[in-house]
Point group: C2
């Protein structure tokens, strides 16, 4: 590998702090609205993940936000708990009241230093901004010794002026200085040079934590964050799945795994428990409703998956050929070798065995024939699809419940009603329901037949192909006795897929109960 000429390695073992803003900048994303309980759940997971700082919210903005930050400060142990505030007295007071009960509270205050923000958004002057910054940091320091200051839109600010503002914040006792790329405009080389210049202009920065906060408008948030680390920054502000305003913030999982994979290059590590990354990603996606695209780095469904024959052969030969990280490192259980039109019989058997299905040769022949038909005709044949469609009768051998039939009646002015027949351990059981929703009526009728109570936690339908022969894929999650079970099914009818997926989830729930 080439020896990079412009890189001066730092002492290995430098610790880069991870400042997670999933609950603040992430929660400000359009359409995301987490309630207190959901925020607490995420905050507890962030503590398990080992983040150094949780920015829990922006307390002045609403009573709900205040209460959530306060609850996190009181309950969540481990990370520093931080509240955001503009420079006004009330903002900083609200932030302090929200975080004061934490073992280690932080107030984060900010004001814009770029001329475009000063003139057009704040409609004030550079002098006034300096005064506001001074007063805000001083006020925050009366409450706590841990105060972070950010010159907003730092990357587009006049660097001499921004250095002055930072110097003022340091004089008033700020302990972390964060220089954000608020609009996602900067380039890695340029941003690195900016930090190097700031260290030159403000030598006192060497005595505090220098932080970076990047937005992904041009797809460079992670690269810019790492460029700042190369220049000496030791805190990265980031969010799980990279959520945040517009195109979001730097992805926690990307910057963390870059530092984990290339620790020797950066001479730095983080304190993150990387094995908790996949779980954190799923939780944030489920609670925010923000999907993670299949090709998302680290946490996408396919981040560790290979289809093409060439890559699969290489992967089987040695995982180092194509994998620079092990799926297990980020909490993904196996290298999800997805099957496609080029996959062979051996790969199919291997994949099904991972799901616990031991097939006879004849069964494998039949499964392979169906698989090839499906792979020719349909897009997006994931291993789970396969399991749903290929393994039907094999799966049913080990299932407790089998859906025999259902009939639903629904309409705009009638209450949906469903009757089902389910085989439970060889006996035929009937179930029926009236319910508010058509699909819900099917689920309730199944509950009635199997004698369990499920509560729908997630429900997604997708047409796998267009037109008359469209396969409807249903993925759902059902809560039973406080635990969540997933089910998935593919069929030519959305109602049938829904019913089958639900039965699948209930089978998983029943199996879990027997095993405990």
């Amino acid at each position: 590998m080439s020896d990079p000429t412009q890189h001066q390695p730092r002492d290995p073992g430098n610790r880069v702090k991870i400042f997670d803003t999933t609950l603040r900048d992430g929660e400000q994303s359009p359409g995301i609205s987490l309630n207190k309980q959901e925020k607490l759940e995420i905050a507890h997971q962030l503590a398990r993940l080992g983040v150094d700082v949780i920015e829990a919210g922006f307390p002045i903005t609403s009573p709900g936000d205040f209460e959530a930050v306060q609850a996190i400060a009181r309950e969540v142990e481990g990370p520093v708990i931080c509240g955001l505030a503009r420079t006004s007295k009330q903002d900083i007071e609200a932030a302090w009241n929200a975080v004061r009960d934490a073992a280690r509270p932080r107030i984060h205050t900010f004001i814009a230093t770029s001329d475009v923000h000063i003139e057009r958004k704040l409609q004030t002057t550079r002098e006034d901004v300096i005064g506001q910054a001074r007063a805000a940091v001083a006020q925050a320091r009366e409450y706590t010794e841990d105060v972070e200051f950010s010159p907003e839109d730092g990357s587009r600010s006049d660097i001499q002026y921004m250095a002055e503002v930072i110097q003022v914040a340091l004089e008033e006792g700020a302990t972390t200085i964060n220089v954000p790329d608020t609009v996602g405009y900067t380039m890695p080389g340029e941003y690195r040079a900016m930090f190097e210049e700031l260290y030159r202009l403000v030598p006192d920065l060497r005595g505090v934590t220098v932080s970076v906060h990047c937005h992904d408008d041009l797809g460079l948030a992670s690269a810019n964050s790492l460029a700042a680390v190369s220049a000496g920054a030791s805190q990265i502000e980031c969010a799980v799945n990279g959520i945040g305003e517009r195109a979001g913030n730097a992805s926690l999982e990307e910057v963390v795994m870059a530092l984990a994979t290339r620790g020797a290059y950066f001479g730095a590590t983080t304190g993150i428990v990387t094995e908790e990354i996949a779980r954190s990603s799923r939780m944030v996606s489920n609670l925010t409703g923000y999907v993670v695209q299949p090709n998302k780095a680290i946490v996408g469904r396919n981040a560790f998956a290979h289809e093409s024959g060439i890559h699969q052969a290489g992967l089987l030969a040695a995982s180092s050929t194509f994998e620079i990280m092990k799926p297990a490192d980020v909490g993904v259980t196996d290298s999800d070798l997805v099957l496609g039109k080029h996959s062979g019989r051996h790969a199919l058997r291997a994949r099904l065995e991972e799901f616990g299905y031991r097939l006879t040769d004849a069964e494998l022949d039949e499964a392979f024939r169906r698989f090839k038909d499906l792979a020719d005709k349909k897009k997006d044949v994931t291993a789970l699809d396969l399991e749903a469609l290929v393994g039907e009768e094999i799966r049913e051998r080990q299932d407790r419940f089998t859906l025999l039939s259902y009939v639903t009646q629904a309409g705009s002015s009638i209450t949906p009603t469903t009757q089902v027949e389910v085989e439970v351990r060889g006996r035929k059981r009937h179930g029926k329901s009236f319910s508010n929703g058509t699909v819900e009526s099917v689920f309730k009728a199944i509950d009635n037949a199997v004698g369990m109570k499920g509560s729908l936690a997630d429900y997604q339908v997708r047409a796998v192909t267009a037109g008359r022969d469209a396969l409807a894929e249903v993925k759902l999650a059902v809560q039973v006795d406080g635990r969540s079970y997933r089910g998935q099914a593919v069929s030519f009818d959305v109602m049938e897929s829904s019913a089958k997926a639900y039965v699948r989830a209930m089978n998983n729930a029943a199996a879990a109960k027997e095993n405990h």
Copy 2:
């Protein structure tokens, strides 16, 4: 802004070629399987987008791939049409036969040069690889003057050895040399240094096109591609929406917009018609089934959207405050100011007016009340959700068709049947259908009532919240007379949402017909 110390600007106006591999590396993504017609459709769109090279496929891998590449070579005008080949005789022959009918055909051949690939995947020696590279480029040059050579896993190769292989390829007449980061391992500074070193070791590289191909395993594909451009590379291999093996390739939209937004920094531009980016993204997402996450740079639903009060105020004050690109630059019609729990009455009115709804003050009051209820209770309230739920009676004023009622009966052993009542221009019409799918039966009954024929092209259902009060959001696309119309609806029942969304799409189709 800081003046980057390490950046030497190049002559402005350098043209960076965009080599699109959506149909090759993208199509190799797990679960993607495009047919010939779909590939042609994407290729035509890539030509409209103005890419310089279309890598249309890997012809040796299957007869289907061969035929698709051949069809693209014969039909699609503008870009160079390229086929991929390993170094074997048959590979290169197949690639040539597939692309030979193009106005400007290219053969792209590759072989790995990293020791881990040579030893474990190819199970051969460095000497043998040199021989294969030489023979392959020589054979390709017998067919065409446009030959690209890639040392696979270049970023992990011994640079001295890789330089030797590249020199051999150049001697045999390769006109483009592409040095890929096959496993997504490199860091921008390191990759840039590698290219600078390669230029030093192989001065002949100055006479050909140097290309870059990056994978996004650590979220750095775009940054690495741009780092190579800073070092002198003048071709970027990328894919629409960043699809490709594992975490995918560099996103076309990210590298293109970085060069467009920061042209002065790079002293380089591309020939891309950026206004076609949004359409290209939607097409690739629809045909591959790969969703684009809301916070995806440039093409995500929220890339240009702001929720928080602070940012909205700034945005209304001056779009330069928070937007470094105009949505229209990439073909997004307006800055999709999404409404959230912090949004005010003025924003709601503005948003609804964009949809063409002029509200009386009383109507706005009612709409605002409903909106606030929704924003408190539900996640992910996009402007379109609002339109569906808030604007019900207002929208119906201008609709041609209104769904009055429906009744559906479905089950595992009966053919789904639906009866609907639709008001068409003040008259009540009845429709009925038998159909294979439950939802399809509703759509066919609506067709029957309104006297038009729609064909479902896309159908997605999402539960907006969990539990009993879940809102079911349906988004669908319907083809009528060869054009596509979208409809969306939110209700507490998935069947009702589906019916309403379909009626909405048919209203759009009817309106379009009247206006033409």
